[in-house]
């Protein structure tokens, strides 16, 4: 493990049982590394396993197979008790700021709870000394501390969620669709806040979102997932300028362009059909059922994720 990596994930697999001996292949052999102070974006359609991937890394789910190495320590098989000191190093920001905050707790208590849970403060006063500056840091005020979550707007709640995640000074923050529930004019506020924290504290982000232009803007590297597997991974600008996998091309082609002239001129490469069920994923390349370029080989042999130059990795028989 190299010193500069905060997170290394090797062949991570997470299967769920779905009754009658059926298995949901939510995440199927994913490998990547995340460098300190960098942001890795994960994109893909709903059901591609990006959230399961995040939740397995943070050990909300127990991995079926594979390895998770956080800051040089293998945390894959740790028991919850052993894991506790490592939980301080990784925190999560959730999508729905309405569901992820306890309605019966004041904002102060919500933000102080991680400090209490990790015995980092002895008294309420001590906690307040950390909570109040954090509130101000995320753009709220001391006066907000004694209010309840329902008194806040979506954007303000997401700020509380960010404060709770960052109060422990983690090194890795997993952001699972942190802005998709927010209004357009508020999204940029939250993104700027996350970027400022990163600059200030050298945080690493695993950023999961379906808004492809926002992912490009925040990420250093981007991984594209399809049915539990990574199909392409590269430096962010490279993947958007030069997408190689037919799925990435289709995904990027589906993004609406906020420019009416361009939007109507462009030759669109879009994807037909729905994402297949992860209970019986297609054989070979899982994308072959929707791929316009599929050849017979694609349904038989699973393409490996290979480097095609300059760190641009793609799993496609057309690029070998």
């Amino acid at each position: 493990m190299s010193e500069q990596n905060i997170l290394e994930v090797k062949d991570l697999t997470k299967h769920f049982k779905a009754g009658k001996k059926q298995i949901v292949h939510a995440v199927d052999g994913i490998s990547f590394t995340l460098q300190r102070g960098k942001t890795l974006g994960l994109v893909g359609e709903s059901g591609c396993g990006k959230s399961t991937c995040a939740r397995t890394i943070i050990r909300m789910y127990d991995p079926t197979a594979g390895q998770i190495v956080l800051d040089g320590t293998d945390i894959t098989a740790m028991k919850q008790k052993e894991l506790k000191p490592y939980r301080k190093k990784m925190q999560m920001i959730f999508q729905d700021p309405y569901a992820s905050l306890n309605a019966r707790m004041t904002v102060r208590d919500i933000i102080a709870e991680p400090l209490m849970a990790h015995n980092l403060v002895k008294s309420k006063e001590e906690a307040n000394d950390l909570v109040y500056p954090m509130l101000e840091r995320v753009g709220l005020t001391k006066e907000h501390a004694n209010r309840y979550a329902h008194e806040f707007s979506g954007g303000q709640r997401q700020r509380v969620g960010i404060a709770r995640a960052l109060i422990l000074e983690p090194q890795l923050v997993i952001c699972d669709e942190p802005i998709s529930a927010l209004d357009v004019s508020i999204q940029a506020q939250v993104i700027n806040l996350l970027k400022d924290f990163q600059e200030e504290k050298g945080l690493s982000y695993l950023f999961i979102a379906h808004d492809l232009s926002m992912v490009r803007y925040v990420s250093d590297d981007v991984g594209v997932m399809y049915l539990g597997q990574l199909v392409e991974m590269s430096e962010a600008d490279e993947i958007y300028r030069n997408p190689l996998h037919p799925y990435t091309k289709g995904l990027l082609g589906s993004v609406p362009i906020a420019n009416p002239k361009l939007a109507r001129q462009k030759e669109k490469s879009s994807i037909e059909g729905d994402i297949p069920s992860p209970i019986n994923p297609p054989s070979g390349c899982r994308f072959h059922t929707r791929c316009p370029y599929a050849v017979p080989e694609c349904s038989r042999v699973k393409p490996e994720l290979v480097d095609v130059g300059g760190g641009h990795k793609v799993a496609c028989h057309l690029h070998k």
Binding site: E45, S46, S153, G154, G155, Q156, D183, V184, S185, I186, Q187, A188, Q189, I191, N192, K195, H210, L212, S213, M214, R216, Y217, Y240, G250, L251, L252, G253, S254, V255, P256, I257, A258, N259, P260, K261, A263, R264, K268, S270, I271, E272, G273, D274, I275
Partner: protein, 338 residues
């Protein structure tokens, strides 16, 4: 040509325990035949309430104020009896929503639900004829294996497929107007793209006018002919599609356009969000509702509501800075080049 829909000075309030929420505060616009009109706005801007008023779908706590008018095909809909509205709903005007699961009956096969819509308005159609028509519709909205899907229940469908069923149902009687309230917001971009292309094709084929409500400017750019930007229960700007992106003439529209990164966004440049949050409509600001968040606001803006004035062909906006007598200083984005 007479517009198919003409809304005049629509005012809608909700009576709540916290007082009167003025959701829509005087909205006027019209929809031409065969036109796709986009309504853009954030949550609480009044865009959904406006569209729900058309088909009498508002909650019981809603009050449509005196002086409001909604004319469809020269017929006044406000105050129209329930029986007449039932004739109009699904026959002349239909609507699709953000969440197709809650719009479909979970206990009835989807084919039957769509057939019901046909037979409700055309009782003389036989069951067999209705089924045939539904299968054709399913094919049209690209539901694979229509025969097999006809008997399936909503839970057996993906979100995108359910939305297709809703579109099939909405189009069953070839309505003159389709109201689509954030129909692709809950869907993946790939599926959204498929649905948008389909709506465009259907509009061409049937000549159906569409009101498309969304918060996504990208979707508007792809689909619409004309756009209305709503904020704080009012229309702030109205313009043909290219105008709004090339010459936005309201600080709010400019703010919205600036706060989304485009695909080519320079990463070293910070995003420019609109500061603050939308106004509380129980106590709407006296002046321009955007004034508290507007970087160009002056004293006047907080005190008085600017008129909705024409600034170009088919292009109107509600901002004091566009008035002919507005000061042309560095704090006026519309006069800087003069």
């Amino acid at each position: 040509m007479e517009p198919i829909l003409k809304i005049d000075n629509l005012k809608v309030s909700f009576m709540t325990s916290n007082g009167e929420v003025q959701a829509v505060r005087g909205v006027s616009f019209s929809v031409e035949k065969g036109e796709i009109l986009g309504i853009v706005g954030e949550s609480g801007s009044g865009k959904s309430v406006t569209s729900m008023s058309i088909l009498h779908l508002l909650a019981d706590t809603a009050r449509i104020k005196e002086g409001s008018s909604i004319r469809f095909d020269e017929e006044e809909l406000i105050g129209a009896p329930g029986k007449r509205m039932r004739e109009i709903r699904g026959e002349k005007i239909s609507m699709i929503f953000q969440d197709p699961m809650s719009s479909l009956n979970p206990l009835i096969p989807v084919g039957k639900q769509v057939a019901e819509m046909l037979r409700e308005h055309h009782p003389d159609i036989s069951k067999e004829e209705a089924k045939k028509a539904v299968l054709e519709l399913f094919e049209k909205v690209r539901i694979p294996e229509p025969e097999k899907r006809f008997k399936c229940y909503p839970h057996e469908f993906s979100g995108g497929m359910r939305q297709r069923v809703m579109i099939a149902m909405a189009l069953a009687n070839k309505p003159e107007l389709l109201i689509a309230d954030e129909p692709t917001t809950a869907l993946d971009v790939t599926i959204q793209d498929q649905i948008l292309r389909q709506l465009r094709e259907l509009e061409k084929e049937y000549g159906t006018s569409i009101i498309f409500i969304t918060h996504d400017l990208g979707v508007v750019a792809e689909l619409c002919d004309r756009v209305i930007v709503m904020y704080g229960g009012l229309i702030m700007e109205e313009a043909p599609i290219e105008e709004i992106f090339e010459h936005p003439s309201h600080p709010y529209t400019m703010g919205l356009l600036n706060s989304i990164p485009d695909m080519e966004q320079d990463k070293s440049v910070r995003l420019k969000p609109i500061p603050g949050s939308p106004p509380d409509m129980t106590n709407p600001p006296a002046g321009c509702p955007f004034a508290p968040r507007c970087p160009y606001a002056r004293k006047l803006c907080g005190a008085e509501l600017p008129e909705f004035i024409e600034v170009g062909e088919g292009h109107s906006s509600r901002c004091f800075l566009l008035y002919p007598d507005a000061p042309a200083d560095e704090n006026n984005p519309f006069r800087s080049e003069v």
